[in-house]
């Protein structure tokens, strides 16, 4: 047994870099011209986005008949993708708000990127309800504002609650992200030699001078925003789960849905953050800032949330049997052994079985293993939404209306496009804003903490 020393807090940042060195290394990607590899990556994501645009263009021209949605399965890929992408965003708010309130210092290295990812993921997610309504140019009527057509929204519909939940979530996440960026904008403003950049950074830094008073206000605002954002982490995916759970469809209507969806969202979000950060820390030489210890902690959270998801699957199955309600029992047997059994077992193995490898410390600390496992988690979580949405709808109460749902090429094109959209934003983000919070990472660098010994 190797002895760990618990008497001292391990530093988040390794190798004792000076504060100036931290400034330099985090600002470096913004000050240097992008290289060939960057453009290559951008070309890939833009091509994926292009595929999606083509899929969408055809959908608008010919109509949504190009999609696989059929009569019992009215919610096909669009809702699956919507829930998937909203879920991806959740890790950002969890890291930036909840881990902040829990005073987890290791979050400081990854919070900025995760917050940025939240915003891009929610943007990607919002595409899907917009196109799923069929006439996205009329989507403005989803907001309850008095109009000449006497159109009014249905306040008892969870789909409307979604509109409020997701837009609130987006707004608060965006403000939170921007407030966190203000001190960094000031650092960049003071560093840059380019006149145009200086003007831009000056505007966005809101006259930040780093005075004591500025910091006091900043810390207070940040804490309050973290407080606001925390219930939002729970509320957004709770409302998304209500989309399903308030109905009386077996497999959708179950009381554990709200916390189970939230755990699933954090699960997939963490997997996505971990995936992208593995590249970023390598390419930008941030290995001492986003350390292996940090990645290991993320993997532990993936293991935890994955197990919560597994617990929810088990409870659903047990309660379906225990309830004695025939349609419930049928639905769950149908999920696991019916026509969509392949999707169910992909989901169960990727979400519950494979993450259990993270019990082993060596695997938690091995970059290739953790990367593959996190990719599998995201595959599994996408399939989870597919299984929930499609299996329950394709075989509902009325056997005469049962039908098998097959996604079409257009569906896949739009799905690929959503990944393209998301990763294009991620790539642009890495070259235009600091992906690690300069101010926050300095606060957890070794030697930055005042000693309380003399108090």
């Amino acid at each position: 047994m190797t002895t760990t020393d618990y008497r001292h807090e391990p530093s988040v940042v390794e190798g004792r870099p000076s504060l100036r060195e931290l400034d330099e290394i985090i600002a470096k990607p913004l000050e240097s011209k992008p290289d060939k590899k960057y453009f290559l990556a951008l070309a890939v994501t833009l091509s994926m986005l292009g595929i999606g645009v083509i899929g969408l263009a055809f959908s608008f021209y010919y109509g949504t008949g190009l999609w696989g949605n059929n009569n019992p399965v009215g919610w096909g890929f669009p809702i699956v993708n919507f829930v998937f992408w909203v879920g991806i965003g959740h890790a950002g708010t969890l890291i930036s708000a909840i881990l902040f309130l829990f005073r987890q210092k290791w979050r400081n290295g990854i919070a900025r990127f995760a917050e940025g990812m939240t915003i891009f993921a929610v943007m990607t997610a919002m595409i899907f309800p917009a196109i799923h309504v069929g006439r996205p140019w009329l989507a403005g009527y989803l907001f309850p504002y008095p109009n000449q057509h006497s159109l009014w929204v249905n306040f008892t519909s969870p789909l409307l609650w979604d509109v409020f939940a997701v837009s609130t979530y987006f707004t608060v996440s965006f403000i939170f992200w921007y407030v966190g960026l203000i001190p960094d904008f000031a650092t960049l403003r003071d560093k840059t030699f380019s006149k145009i950049k200086k003007v831009i950074y000056s505007v966005f830094s809101l006259g930040w001078r780093g005075s004591n008073r500025h910091w006091q206000h900043y810390e207070m605002v940040y804490l309050i925003l973290a407080g606001f954002a925390t219930p939002l982490v729970l509320s957004v995916h709770t409302i998304v789960s209500f989309d399903f759970a308030v109905s009386i469809l077996p497999g959708w209507h179950t009381t554990i849905f709200p916390p189970y969806f939230v755990a699933g969202a954090v699960f997939s979000g963490f997997a996505m953050v971990q995936n992208v950060l593995i590249f970023i820390r390598k390419i930008f030489n941030y290995e001492h800032i986003i350390t292996l210890d940090t990645l290991e902690k993320m993997n532990k959270i993936i293991l935890l949330t994955g197990s919560i998801v597994g617990y929810a699957y088990a409870m659903e199955f047990f309660t379906a049997w225990y309830s004695g309600v025939q349609p419930e029992q049928f639905t769950f047997v149908n999920r696991a052994f019916g026509p969509y059994a392949w999707a169910y077992w992909i989901m169960a193995s990727c979400n519950v079985f494979f993450p259990q490898f993270f019990w082993i410390k060596k695997i938690r600390r091995s970059i290739p293993f953790m990367f593959v496992l996190a990719v599998l988690v995201n595959v599994g979580m996408w399939f989870e939404r597919f299984v929930i949405t499609v299996t329950s709808l394709s075989r509902d109460y009325l056997p005469s209306s049962w039908a098998y749902y097959t996604p079409t090429l257009t569906d896949f094109a739009i799905l690929i496009g959503s990944f393209g959209f998301f990763f294009t934003w991620v790539l642009l983000f890495t070259k235009s804003l600091p992906v690690v919070s300069i101010a926050e990472i300095k606060a957890v660098a070794e030697g930055s903490q005042p000693s309380h010994k003399d108090h």
Binding site: M1, T3, T4, D5, Y6, R7, H8, E9, L101, R103, P231, L234, T238, F242, A245, V246, S247, I248, H253, T254, T255, I256, F257, P258, P259, S307, Y311, A312, M315, E316, T319, Y322, S323, G324, V325, W359, H452, K453
Partner: protein, 396 residues
């Protein structure tokens, strides 16, 4: 790097003898009332006994969870007073004794134990593979065995560390806690299904285990917080605990009060909205007759009042306020259990009389006695824990 980090001075002081006396007095008073009430109304007492069982399980198991989560999360702020939770977890040793009268009265509490009723009811006979007396008894034994096993394993290492100061014991406890987590999740879920949900064997809710877990965690936190603040004020704990520690305890109480509301709302909202008779029966029972007042009271007692009382930052640091609200939350948990269990006994309206008095008295008596016995034998501070100094240095 100094080799001996635990330079902290700790002189063990025994709790005043009056604590023990109060504990014994409450225990005896409670027992007398209980014995008497069992003679007067056996069924009603058995239901109350079930509340007591669930309450003490919450305190014991919830405290063990708090100890485990500290090891697992690597928390340092709670290390200086982790022993308080360890002592409270010892309540688990008493819990099987509390379960005996419940087990003797199984037929008057649990509808599904009547084989003739089950045979006539297709839904209940469908469940009989799970809800039958033999399997029920096996599960109860397994739950108790697992809880006690992990209680002894974890606290033994912690106690040993007082003398050896061996850091490997911390590592060992982290591993034990990791193994304990899934076991804890499953056992607390099925214990709550067996002992509370199956009171109405037709009703089901997938979130129920989470609901009971949240309440248990709150009860354990509240009991711990009250004792920690009391002991610290009287100087029984180590010097160096500051309002930063108080704040953290208050913040957790506040956070899980909100989490309870979230879970309770999710359960109610989904059942109310879908309006399926097999599910609404649970809430119909609790909105029937005078139960509706108890149900409305639950919202205030369990959520709105502690929410308001612990919302502001100073309120979480104020010792007086913290003591008041930890007692309040303990009461609220008892109230919640009463709301969960008693409607199965008295459908027409709530009952409250002297028979309901003995059980809470006994609960408080047991908690005090277990704590004072443990504190006589062991240090109130984990003096050998490598994280102790870091815990004392903890600042917001």
């Amino acid at each position: 790097m100094s080799s001996n980090t635990n330079t902290v001075e700790y002189v063990k002081k025994d709790l005043p003898a009056s604590v023990n006396k109060i504990g014994i007095a409450l225990l005896i008073a409670g027992l007398l009332i209980i014995v008497f009430s069992y003679f007067v109304d056996n069924t009603r007492s058995a239901f109350n006994n079930l509340i007591l069982l669930m309450f003490l399980t919450s305190i014991g198991l919830g405290s063990l969870f708090l100890v485990a989560i500290e090891y697992l999360g690597g928390a340092v702020w709670s290390t200086p007073f982790r022993r308080v939770s360890e002592f409270l977890a010892a309540v688990l040793i008493v819990v099987p004794i509390i379960a005996i009268p419940v087990y003797l009265n199984l037929h008057s509490i649990f509808h599904w134990t009547h084989t003739d009723v089950v045979a006539a009811d297709p839904i209940l006979s469908g469940k009989s593979a799970y809800l039958n007396e033999t399997f029920f008894a096996v599960r109860v034994v397994v739950f108790f065995a697992l809880w006690l096993l992990f209680y002894f394993l974890i606290t033994k290492n912690s106690k040993k560390q007082d003398e050896t100061k061996d850091q490997n014991l911390t590592t060992r406890n982290i591993k034990l806690s990791a193994v304990f987590m899934p076991i804890f999740a499953l056992t607390i879920t099925f214990a709550s299904i067996d002992w509370i949900m199956s009171l109405n064997p037709h009703w089901f809710s997938t979130i129920f285990g989470v609901y009971y877990f949240t309440g248990s965690l709150l009860a354990a936190l509240a009991a711990g917080t009250f004792i920690i603040v009391m002991l610290n004020e009287k100087g029984y704990l180590i010097k160096g605990l500051k309002k930063d520690h108080y704040y953290s305890l208050g913040a957790l109480l506040f956070a899980f009060t909100n989490f309870w509301a979230y879970i309770a709302f999710s359960q109610f909202m989904l059942i109310w909205y879908a309006n399926l008779p097999e599910e609404t029966v649970f809430f119909m029972d609790r909105l029937h007759g005078s139960w509706v007042y108890v149900s409305i009271g639950l919202i205030f007692i369990r959520f709105i009042i502690p929410y308001a009382g612990l919302l502001s930052q100073p309120s979480k640091m104020n010792a007086k306020n913290l003591k008041f609200f930890s007692l309040w939350i303990l009461f609220a948990h008892f109230y919640d259990l009463y709301w969960l269990i008693m409607p199965s006994y008295s459908k027409e309206g709530f009952v409250l009389g002297w028979m309901e008095l003995g059980f809470p008295l006994l609960a408080v008596g047991i908690i005090i006695l277990v704590f004072s016995i443990k504190s006589k034998k062991e240090n109130l501070i984990p003096i050998g824990d490598p994280k102790l100094q870091r815990g004392l240095d903890f600042r917001l």
